[in-house]
Subunit: 317 residues, 2 copies
């Protein structure tokens, strides 16, 4: 039984793509089961509740050598704790290729599109496999989530085509209304502890030349996508305290928490200390005022934040 | 213009897959040009001569940041000299994933099949692109070459399906006769210098944990696939001298040259020194007699030699 899972601090794409890919593989004769690497966020919980679909189980600790399939991620820092001991046989992803190495030839399907769900739809169509309404709504939800319903600069024509194909199958007549309902669910943070808000869409990245491990910097990058940024900034002090703890606990060089206003397409990022302030000034030309740096319309961590930091920390050739 | 190329010391798959993928991309609206990273072997020269197709040009030195597509390889040690400064946007490959890292999300298409040509045929069929006779014969030749016409344990049902699909389009009625003609051309080494024979199908691999660069071992693994092993062993002394030079020049921990008898499906490997003798005994249980170790039916470097060495040199978890 092949274990299929997305990244830690899972978002909607990480959860739904695990479900859809496991189902796809099973239909292709490869026994597979979806798992998750963390708690659902409020948007994903809304999507699964709407569909009456159970969340995948938490991934148990797998014995070394177990075959696994990754969706929506490939870097070890975002995967199962013992991922380097597991045998990665398949990856479906739309992120940059990180530190993944395999001992045998794998199945890899990476495309620079907005969502892993978009690639999964292609796999169905290439295999001439019909798409069930349940799978269609899972993929549709992931694409709307990852692209913020086409607001994100990560959006590609393939993502738009996929939504146009999937919406009628999923029975979603008003796609924007459904997307806004998802975003409202995501933004309804209630009394969620600040540490949990910081962790909800959080990824760690090693920056610098991996051939010189001592010079590699480790950064933790959180994002809160919300239709209600005022609520998040109302909890700024708590969030900065949570970032301070995370930086110490995980031995990080820096942490950032970007508060993305979905509807206005802006990014104002919480700045913990002079370390982050200096990097954000040098990389993005943004000054920090009262613990907040205005990063303008850089609303995509993947496309606008990570590559800029990667370039900043990479030694010049 | 996207530069498309296969590995150094190119074999038939490395050359034909560069030609076919560049043509495929151009038909898809991505301007692309095929290149090679070394001289053609005698088999590949035969294939191109049969078709009246010009060999791709040698890859010029590309400026840092140039976008490139890799076929039939992904490890930096087998690629363009300045590959780590280039921007890899696409890879079509059927080998284990090595040290490739990208700054942006790439197109990756890896499958554990016998030949990159098999994957390229899938790309055509998925895109509903017709296959021209010229492209069909290029892909067919690569698959017959890489799988030794299905003799290699790397052969998969997908490779067999691809050959069955391609042969009629390519106008090849007797596939085995065509494969034997290719192998005969490959085996007709004439007065080729020993150093060139050793380099003809030669790859270097780093073995061990890349997080500890000081502990990584570098090995050079050559293969001569031939229908006439007696000829090769008749030049044993010259070949051992060439291996000795290569080991010194490239700062390698060890070198092996496997002489694969295509028709009898056996591998007898030239052993240079006690270093290689010890590793081959520990990894394959094979004793060295008179400079030659009998590795039995391990005729696939990719599937039977490299993974065993990889495991041997990897620190235990």
């Amino acid at each position: 039984m092949l274990a299929v899972f997305g990244h830690t601090n899972p978002d909607t794409d990480a959860i739904t793509s695990a479900l859809v890919y496991a189902s796809f593989l099973s239909r292709q004769g490869v026994q597979a089961q979806a798992y998750r690497l963390g708690e659902l966020n409020f948007e994903t919980a809304f999507v699964l509740r709407e569909l009456g679909v159970d969340a995948p189980e938490m991934l148990p600790e797998l014995p070394a050598g177990t075959a696994v399939a990754l969706v929506d991620h490939n870097e070890s820092a975002q995967s199962a704790p013992n991922i380097t001991e597991l045998t990665v046989t398949r990856v479906v992803d739309h992120h940059k290729l990180g530190d993944l190495i395999t001992a045998q030839p794998p199945y890899l399907r990476f495309e620079p599109v907005g969502c892993a769900g978009t690639i999964l739809l292609k796999l169905h169509r290439e295999a001439n496999l019909g798409v069930e309404p349940r799978e269609a709504k899972l993929m549709l939800s992931a694409i709307l989530s990852d692209t913020l319903h086409f607001r994100s600069p990560t959006t590609t024509p393939d993502d738009r085509d996929a939504v146009a194909f999937l919406a009628p199958i999923a029975g979603v007549e008003d796609v924007e209304a459904y997307a806004l309902a998802m975003f409202a669910a995501k933004s309804d943070l209630g009394d969620t502890p600040a540490a949990q808000i910081f962790r909800m869409d959080y990824k760690e990245f090693p920056f610098g030349d991996p051939a010189h491990p001592d010079a590699v910097q480790h950064w933790g990058l959180g994002v809160v996508e919300t239709t209600n940024p005022a609520y998040v900034f109302g909890r700024k002090a708590e969030l900065l305290a949570a970032m301070d703890e995370a930086r110490a606990e995980n031995n990080l060089n820096g942490v950032l928490l970007s508060v993305v206003d979905i509807l206005n397409e802006t990014n104002r990022t919480l700045i913990l200390s002079a370390t982050e302030e200096k990097v954000v000034r040098e990389v993005f030309g943004a000054e920090t005022v009262d613990g907040v740096a205005d990063l303008g319309n850089r609303i995509s961590r993947k496309k606008q934040i990570v590559p800029a930091l990667e370039k900043h920390f990479m030694p010049q050739a």
